[in-house]
């Protein structure tokens, strides 16, 4: 399954909607997208993971890399995720303490980071 990426701007944030599987094969595409956005001056990102079917450590690494990049510009990276099987991976690795996670895009857009 290929990785699907869509981006849009809303309320001063850039929303990256991700669909499909984020793994060792597809993660570079997400990395490229995040790098491109930061390069274009988009420093407040929301990664919507509600349509993600699978996430592995390579995907986590890409998200951590994205967080480092936006923070270097005093930006933020917030996740949207309610899927237990995806949230479990963040909990195992302790990354729930690193990433702010919202239940919906609407909530993420209005959240204060």
């Amino acid at each position: 399954m290929d990785l699907k990426l869509e981006t849009r701007d809303e309320n001063g944030r850039t929303i990256v909607k991700v669909g499909g599987e984020i793994d060792v094969y597809t993660a570079p595409k997400l990395r490229e997208q995040l790098v491109e956005l930061v390069g274009a001056g988009k420093y407040h990102l929301i990664v919507d993971m509600e349509d993600v079917d699978f996430l592995d450590s390579t995907g986590l690494g890409v998200l951590v890399g994205g967080l480092k990049r936006v923070r270097a510009h005093d930006g933020s990276l917030r996740l949207v995720c309610t899927q237990e099987r995806i949230l479990k991976i963040f909990r195992i690795t302790g990354l729930t303490k690193v990433f702010p996670i919202s239940d919906s895009v609407e909530q993420a857009v209005t959240a204060v980071d």
């Binding site: 060792v24 094969y25 699978f54 450590s57 390579t58 986590l60 690494g61 099987r85 991976i89 690795t93």
Partner: protein, 175 residues
């Protein structure tokens, strides 16, 4: 013995007649195939549905790790995965564990706490000298091991002069 038969031999010693054996070139796109086969076989041998996501993630992590190691150090060598249902308790009532072993051909690749996962410690590795992984790759590898150790209770990561292996097991019901 050629490289491929050697790689298979590393993990085939304990394999039973019901085992499924995968051997693939170290390409990231093949990791998904390995995940799909692992889940299909786990389901077939009776691993309960609630554990299948764990099997999928763990096999993916172990294969991603092996692919990364091979790409850096021995890109011509295949990654070998053996999926098997075994009777670990010797109860004679049939298989009670679904065991997956992912074997690599990189010696000394079990990392220390901040060594960088998958960084071989063997001396004289010419490829290691020219193909050092970058910081993000090391972070990924460490994260992969963190996921594996946090996810799988029955986990054994070993390394020897002929390569390493990640062995994972899950209970089987109604085999």
């Amino acid at each position: 013995m050629d490289a491929q038969s050697s790689a298979v031999g590393t993990v085939a010693k304990t394999e039973s007649a019901t085992a499924v054996l995968l051997r693939f070139t170290p390409q990231p796109e093949h990791v998904r195939t390995a995940r799909l086969v692992a889940v299909a076989h786990a389901r077939r041998v009776g691993v309960e549905a609630g554990l299948l996501d764990e099997v999928r993630l763990a096999v993916g992590e172990a294969c991603s790790r092996a692919v990364g190691l091979h790409q850096r150090h021995c890109p011509g060598e295949p990654v070998v995965v053996v999926l098997d249902a075994v009777d670990e308790s010797d109860s004679a009532s049939g298989a009670d564990r679904f065991v997956v072993t992912v074997a690599d051909k990189v010696s000394g690749a079990v990392p220390g706490p901040r060594d960088g996962a998958g960084a071989p410690v063997a001396d004289g590795d010419a490829e290691a000298a020219t193909g050092e992984p970058d910081e993000e790759e090391l972070d990924d590898a460490e994260m992969g091991l963190a996921v594996l150790t946090g996810l799988v209770d029955d986990l054994d990561i070993t390394s020897g002069p002929d390569g390493g292996s990640v062995r994972m097991g899950w209970p089987v019901k109604d085999f």
